[in-house]
């Protein structure tokens, strides 16, 4: 999603740097430091030939990607019609 955003939408260097350098590295750092929980011992072992990205993961990834694409593209192409509201600042 970040890559798609950067390729197609970002036309400013600060946005690119913010998304790619700061947010993605910090997010991977945050997710990589998750502590294992006792529930992990109850999980069945993975099969030897099972894919690295399981069916659930792929479902989550694709669902989230489709959702984000819909929101972004709606804002991109129809966004001008939505925001005819009150001005605060």
């Amino acid at each position: 999603m970040s890559i798609l955003y950067l390729i197609f939408l970002s036309n400013q260097a600060v946005q690119m740097l913010w998304v790619n350098l700061i947010m993605d590295t910090l997010a991977s750092l945050a997710l990589a430091t998750e502590m294992p929980t006792p529930d992990l011992l109850l999980r069945k072992p993975y099969g030897r030939t099972k894919p690295l990205i399981s069916r659930t993961m792929m479902k989550n990834i694709l669902g989230q990607a489709v959702y984000q694409l819909i929101v972004i593209f709606t804002l991109l192409f129809y966004g001008g019609n939505f925001f005819i509201l009150v001005r605060f600042f």
Partner: protein, 84 residues
């Protein structure tokens, strides 16, 4: 769902913006700022979903046990919102 609420709140306050498409490189209008904000918010809330990958129901379970995670999350959110 959370993201939708955030986007609605952010979107409410802009009046009659012109389309940001077709602007020259390096020029950024209100339209693309909204899109950028929405994208970042969606990515941020997706970090919660990415914590649980085995189909658990509650993605927030044990969130307080990892100080690195939530401090990074809060820090990113703050620096995104407070950016000039």
């Amino acid at each position: 769902m959370l993201t939708g609420v955030v986007a609605a709140i952010l979107g409410d306050r802009i009046l009659n913006i012109e389309s940001g498409r077709g602007l020259p490189d390096g020029v950024i209008g209100a339209h693309f700022t909204i899109i950028f904000n929405t994208f970042v918010m969606m990515t941020l809330f997706n970090e919660f979903n990415a914590r649980k990958i085995h189909g658990q129901r509650n993605v927030f379970q044990g969130i307080h046990t990892n100080p690195i995670f939530y401090s990074i999350w809060i820090g990113t959110m703050l620096s995104q919102v407070c950016k000039r």
